[in-house]
């Protein structure tokens, strides 16, 4: 048990609870608003605990916007990107981590540099490529961009995990007649699973949450993901705030689920990816 500046544990709990309540206020407010009828949404002072919770905002949201399409597009986009990045990234991370070859270090540095380039700067080149390939308003365009954006971090996370894996185990497996690839699948994968899970979850969330590329690359509900869909609900004159919050809640749902189900992996992954490089 560690003692710190905050000598008394009660004080730590107190501050933590106060601080986290403030942090949770926006989430709480979104959830509450999403279940409010109009009469309780547009009043001041605002209603903190809805008296007549209703599902109408969700119903109207799905009636007035092609929200199923948005969700579907987001799911396709995220699933393909995550599967691709995790698999390719895993091979790369394994290679860099256990088979030092000439230029391996250089590849690593390149990956770090890509993380520094603002995605916004690369929007134009990507747009040119995508329009050259005729992929504007196609889910594939965003898959290409997101693979590019998430790949470096995924490799760094998995490399950090693979680095801590004893080399002797792999060597002994190879002596026992296992191929290098065989060693990867039979030994490294089961042991490195937490790292791969971390990378996959973080890739999933980043792709799901991506907005600016999607905004520029897509124009119809044929390809628009949920982030763009929610943004489009902001009308020119009037915003249906309770519907808006219903949409925002749906867009945030995967994030919230992962945070509570896989908190350990998320924290490990983010720490590993940030610090060990």
């Amino acid at each position: 048990m560690r003692k710190s500046l905050l000598e008394s544990r009660a004080l730590s709990y107190g501050i933590a609870i106060l601080f986290l309540s403030l942090m949770m206020l926006p989430i709480y407010w979104t959830v509450v608003t999403a279940f409010k009828p109009d009469t309780e949404t547009y009043v001041f002072p605002p209603v903190y605990f809805p008296k007549e919770p209703t599902l109408t905002p969700f119903k109207l949201l799905f009636e007035s916007y092609p929200f199923w399409d948005y969700i579907q597009n987001s799911l396709i986009l995220t699933a393909v990107t995550t599967a691709f990045v995790t698999f390719i990234g895993m091979l790369a991370a394994y290679g860099i981590s256990h088979y030092p070859y000439r230029g391996g270090h250089f590849v690593l540095i390149t990956l770090l540099v890509t993380r520094i380039i603002p995605p916004l700067s690369l929007l134009i080149p990507f747009y040119l490529v995508v329009s050259y390939l005729g992929l504007v308003d196609n889910v594939l365009s965003m898959i290409i961009a997101n693979v590019y954006l998430t790949y470096p971090f995924a490799v760094l996370i998995m490399k950090a995990f693979f680095d801590s894996f004893p080399r002797e185990l792999i060597d002994s497996a190879i002596v026992d007649g296992c191929s290098r690839t065989g060693a990867l699948f039979k030994i490294v994968l089961p042991v490195g699973a937490p790292g791969i899970a971390s990378a996959a979850i973080i890739t999933f969330l980043w792709t799901w949450n991506e907005f600016i590329y999607a905004m520029v690359f897509t124009s119809t509900s044929q390809a628009q993901p949920i982030t763009v869909g929610v943004f489009d609900c902001i009308g020119d004159i009037f915003v249906n705030w309770n519907q808006m919050c219903a949409g925002a809640l749906l867009a945030t749902l995967p994030g919230i689920i992962f945070v509570f189900v896989a908190q350990k992996y998320l924290i490990q992954g983010l720490t590993a990816g940030a610090l060990k490089s």
Binding site: L122, Y148, I212, V216
Partner: protein, 269 residues
Amino acid sequence: MIVLLWVIFPAFLLFYTSFLRYDNVHPIIFNGLGNYQKVLDDRLFWIGVKQIVIFSIGTTVLTSLGGLIIALCLSAITRAGGLFRSLMIVPWAVPAVVSGIIWKWMFSPDFGVVSDLLMKVGLISKPLSIYGDPNLAMLGVIIADTWTRIPFMGIILLAAFLSIPSILHEAAKVDGAGAFERFLFVDLPLVKGPLLVGLLITTIFSFRTIDIIIPLTAGGPGRATYVLGYYVWDHITKTLNFGMGAASGVILFFITAAIAGIFVYYMRK
């Protein structure tokens, strides 16, 4: 090697485009440094630079403070630690554009919960509108962005605090160090590395933030929250001047790289 091509090609295309007269009106011709000249002569560009510096400093300072506070508290907590940590990282998992929308609703001048809470506490007497006052608008955008960045800072610092052996604290205590002194001379030096990494990532990420600003203030009122990223964004989506967009994108990249370089230099020392 494929990886390398994959990385270098977009960057190359970016530089190449930045030397073209590519405004989607005239035919595309080679323009040398013309775009850079135009960008640097543009008053809006310098407004963007000024706003991004204010924005980035504000966000980084607030994020570090918030991250330090929450990490310190959570490092002393054992019971229900998992739940607390989950709650801490929720804002990280909210899509940035959705955060912007949520905060727009919270800051709403007519029905905003922020106005109401501040009025209840007695800080203000009438509902405030972040859209009426340039300074408030900047503050609002900074708060919204800080909200999404505290979790990451908190995670990194929490890991760092937890790795400090408690025996160091005991020793300092025996030597008569007070709580605050122990924090200053035992904790801080030991978490300096992770803290610098956190600062670096927060700073360079705040330089690229526009997802939050687009729905929240759209750069307004006036140009109060018109950060440099927004300038790039406008060239891509509004004026459709890809040449100038690319040139300002290159400048944005070099500014970010310079900041990263300074941090890395300090970390190596």
